[in-house]
Amino acid sequence: MSPPVKLIGSFFDSPFVHRAEAALRLKGVPYELIQEDMENKSELLLQHNPIHKKVPVLVHGDHAVCESLVIVEYVDEAFDGPPLLPSDPADRAAARFWAQLMDTKCRRPLVLSFLTEGELREGFLRETKENLALLEAQLDGKRFFGGDSVGYLDIALSALSRWTAVFEEMTGVSLVGGDDFPGLRRWAEEYTSNEAVRQCLPSMEHLKAQFSAKKDKVKSVAMGHGDAAAGAVIR
């Protein structure tokens, strides 16, 4: 029998932690969620992720797995259940490519679109829309990026659903929720209404409260350090 699974997350509803939870729920793996106060990191977190000291961390028996997308693949491979990655090697490569793109290219301008104003914001919005156009094309009218069911790439892109919707509501900017990307808009609705996903998705109200509280602190960090900061922003 498989040893118990613990997931170390945080009180802040991070889309990275969500990725790990979504994978566990879609796979049907029971787990205990431990919420960290990131201002006051526990021994447990420091012991299991000494290098990065970040969440999420999946603890499965003796094994600690860090990095959200690495966790998603681990969950897919270590447990039985519906596959999260496609079976065809080239399709798997495409899913990994676009997931990587989200983290290396899309995240920063998306976050900065909401944290900045004026001309700076216009620039980041333009860049974000270019990225969304690529993803819209990749979705190609399918229900999910994975096809008929939620898969690895849908999970990887989950920040484009609830988190982006909250950003859009708070700032009045229109991205996924607007008319420019009908495929993505429908995808976001499908993703957030999925039975397994819903159970680990923070509510709009909850996220709004968190973003308001964090906004100023986060803005200075994001502007100062670009990628690392934009990542730190939502962790």
């Binding site: 290098i51 860090c66 798997r92 490569a93 990994r96």
Partner: protein, 253 residues
């Protein structure tokens, strides 16, 4: 399979697999080593990155970079994604590139990202700066290298992949042949640069470097170092000149 059929299979494979690359790119090299590990025949296309081909732009419109592996007309980009693809597509052939065990696979992916996110940036900064900035970058790079050193020492294995070269070794490969070049250039320039990987400080890593370079898939498949050295030197000089010009500009304002 008789010789004739074998030949046919190899030729047909060569038509199915194409690699767009550039001789100096360590990312391209990793892919070439992975293909060699699996014994895959392929067509190699050398790209001039200052004048990118229509083919490259069509196959990798998002990044416009090499390597791009084209498999039966389908392009695959980003070196780590390509390495995993090679392992998946030729799963039945040669040695595994990633471990089979899910936890060990997760660790392999973790270390490959570590190299990209934590190790490469300070090494690059060390190579392209001088003075205090360079010293700080050096310290940061050494700190991360020591993490790797510990990992390898604790495992007691010859390679990060275990008994044989694997995904992490391939991802770390620039360390094995580029760092010595960087060390030579930085020290030679009178910048007071010290060696980054020494046998005293990092015995496991130092041994790994030599072992990696003499492993079957890698041996004989290195870029021409006599061409690489001046190229790296020119890069460092270009960065230094640009940084000095900026400082001058700021002082004049």
């Amino acid at each position: 399979m008789d010789h004739h059929l074998e030949q046919q299979a190899a030729e047909s494979e060569k038509k199915a697999v194409k690699l767009l690359g550039m001789w100096a790119s360590p990312y391209v090299l990793q892919v070439r080593w992975a293909l060699a590990m699996k014994g895959v025949e392929y067509e190699y296309v050398e790209e001039d990155l200052r004048s990118k081909s229509a083919q490259l732009l069509a196959y990798n419109p998002v990044h416009k970079k090499v390597p791009v592996l084209v498999y039966h007309g389908r392009p695959i980009a980003e070196s780590q994604v390509i390495l995993e693809f090679i392992d998946d597509a030729w799963n039945h052939r040669g040695d595994p590139i990633l471990p089979r065990d899910p936890y060990r696979r997760a660790m392999a992916r973790f270390w490959a990202r570590f190299k990209q996110d934590k190790l490469s940036p300070p090494i690059w900064r060390w190579f392209t700066t001088e003075g205090e900035e360079q010293e700080a970058a050096y310290e940061a790079a050494v700190e991360q290298l020591l993490v790797l050193e510990k990992e390898l020492a604790v495992s007691g294995k010859p390679f990060f992949g275990g008994e044989k070269v694997g995904f992490v070794d391939l991802s770390l490969s620039p360390l094995a042949y580029v760092i010595p070049i960087y060390e030579e250039i930085v020290t030679g320039g009178g910048g007071g640069g010290v060696k980054m990987v020494t046998e005293e400080k990092m015995p496991s890593l130092a041994a790994w470097m030599g072992r990696f370079l003499s492993s079957p898939a890698v041996r004989g498949h290195l870029p021409p170092l006599e061409k690489l050295r001046p190229r790296c030197q020119a890069m460092r000089e270009a960065f230094l000149v640009s940084a000095r010009a900026k400082v001058e500009q700021q002082q004049q304002q």
